[in-house]
Every structure is written in structure tokens, then in C-alpha cells.
Symmetry: C2
């Protein structure tokens, strides 16, 4: 207990702690990704489609839990920035694929997120570290 959580009576509640931890951690990640002008959701999409040439907007949204309506401005931004392109699958569907520029950017994204993940785990006391990911896996469908 190196920190000031004693001053916050709510810090004993797992739900509250989850909210505070996620909020602080995601603000940190967002700031790091700002260096490559990406949002967290943008980076998630780029990482998800890294080796794929066949994922549609709908599929991406299903996996990442983004509404399809919200995929539209997200993908438009990435396309406008030259990171992805839309490749027709049939007359109804489009595959979302990394461009060469997107591939290069992904190298930077990998570097940023790898460092971020290492530092995140590093802030968790060693005795609890290995339990963190399996615990979280219970908390979303």
C-alpha cells in the first residue's frame, strides 16, 4: 500500500478501484498514442487487422464491441490519414486492410503499447501480477 488509498474510503470497493485504475491507465495510454495522432480505439483497430485482409467493419466492431454506427467516423479518419484502405469483398461488403503506411505506423504503435503494457504490469506488486489478466477475463463476455 504505497499510495494514498487510505484517504479514500471507496478504494476498498473493487468496482470503484476498477473504475479509477482503468480511467488513470487509459488516460496514460491515450496521451502516449497522441504522439502518433491515434485514439485508443484507432490503435485497437490497427492491431486487430494487422495480418488480416478479410475483416469487415461489422466484424471488427463485433470483436472490439464498437457499434457499427461508431465504426463509420473511426474508419473514415483512418482512411483519410492513409492508414487503411477499403477493399471490396462483394457488392455489399468491404474488407478493411492496412496500407503500407498503416503497416509502418503499426510498428510504432506496437512499440508504444509494448512499453505501456510493461510499465502497467510493473506498477502491479509482483505477488499479484500474474493474477491480473485472468481476473479481468472474468469481467467481460
Amino acid at each position: 500500500m504505497s499510495n494514498d488509498h487510505a484517504k479514500d474510503p471507496l478504494a476498498r470497493l473493487p468496482g470503484y478501484a476498477l473504475r479509477r485504475a482503468a480511467s488513470a491507465t487509459m488516460a496514460d495510454l491515450a496521451a502516449r498514442l497522441h504522439a502518433v495522432e491515434l485514439r485508443i480505439s484507432d490503435a485497437s483497430v490497427l492491431m486487430l487487422i494487422r495480418d488480416r485482409v478479410d475483416m469487415t467493419s461489422t466484424e471488427i466492431g463485433k470483436i472490439l464491441d464498437f457499434q457499427s454506427a461508431n465504426m463509420v467516423p473511426l474508419l473514415s479518419r483512418l482512411e483519410l490519414a492513409g492508414h487503411i484502405k477499403r477493399v471490396p469483398i462483394n457488392r455489399k461488403s468491404m474488407a478493411i486492410v492496412l496500407t503500407d503506411r498503416g503497416q509502418e505506423l503499426l510498428i510504432q504503435v506496437d512499440s508504444i503499447t509494448a512499453r505501456f503494457e510493461v510499465e502497467l504490469l510493473g506498477r502491479i506488486p509482483e505477488a499479484h501480477r500474474a493474477h491480473f489478466l485472468p481476473a479481468l477475463h472474468g469481467l467481460w463476455p
Copy 2:
């Protein structure tokens, strides 16, 4: 690994898992608190000031990490609903105090959050459960 995280290659990243877990869990809590017409931030404030008659808006914001500008509409809502009142400390500061009605509502809030916290912990595999809170405590200041 009872769930579908195998289909999501990002699920191995602790940061991503933290984001997904917090998002799903907080959506659940928000829905439960909707029954008493409170937001998560509202309920946090009520729980924080439960036994206090001397906390100012600024102090509350510092503990819960809400900007003071964002405290204004939050407290206005709670005051309008009759859950809190403002008691002058001096000509500059106001104490934020539960009304009788706020005290009664807090009983319901405690019931909702207690059940929520139990179910949250229940979704974490037993072997990892005790490590969850101490791990989170490393992740915010």
C-alpha cells in the same frame, strides 16, 4: 478460460483487458443505479460524504478525481433532487451534506453496490480473486 477471449487477439494485453473489463462492469453498475436515478459519479459522492458534515466540493473532487468545474452540475442535480444540501462553512466555502432524503437513498445505494460488488468478485475465478484489489491499487495515484 470459459469465454470467447480466444477470438480476440488483443485480449492478451492487460491494458486492453482492463479497458474492456471496466467498460462492461461500469455499464452494468450504471444500469443498476439507474433504478434510483443516479449516475455512478453521483453515487460515489453520496457514499463519500456519508458520515461527513464538513466536506467541500473541492475536497470531494480531489478525492474522487473530478474537476471542480464538473462538480457544479453534479452537485446541482443532487441538490435539486433533494439528496444533499449546502451548509455554509464561511463566506467562501460550503459543506456538502446529506439530507434526510439523501440518507434514505444511501441505504438503497449501499444495497445496490453491495450486491454489485459481490457479483463482480464472483465472476473472478476464485484463485485470482484476492489479488484483484491489491493489483488495481498499483494503477492509480
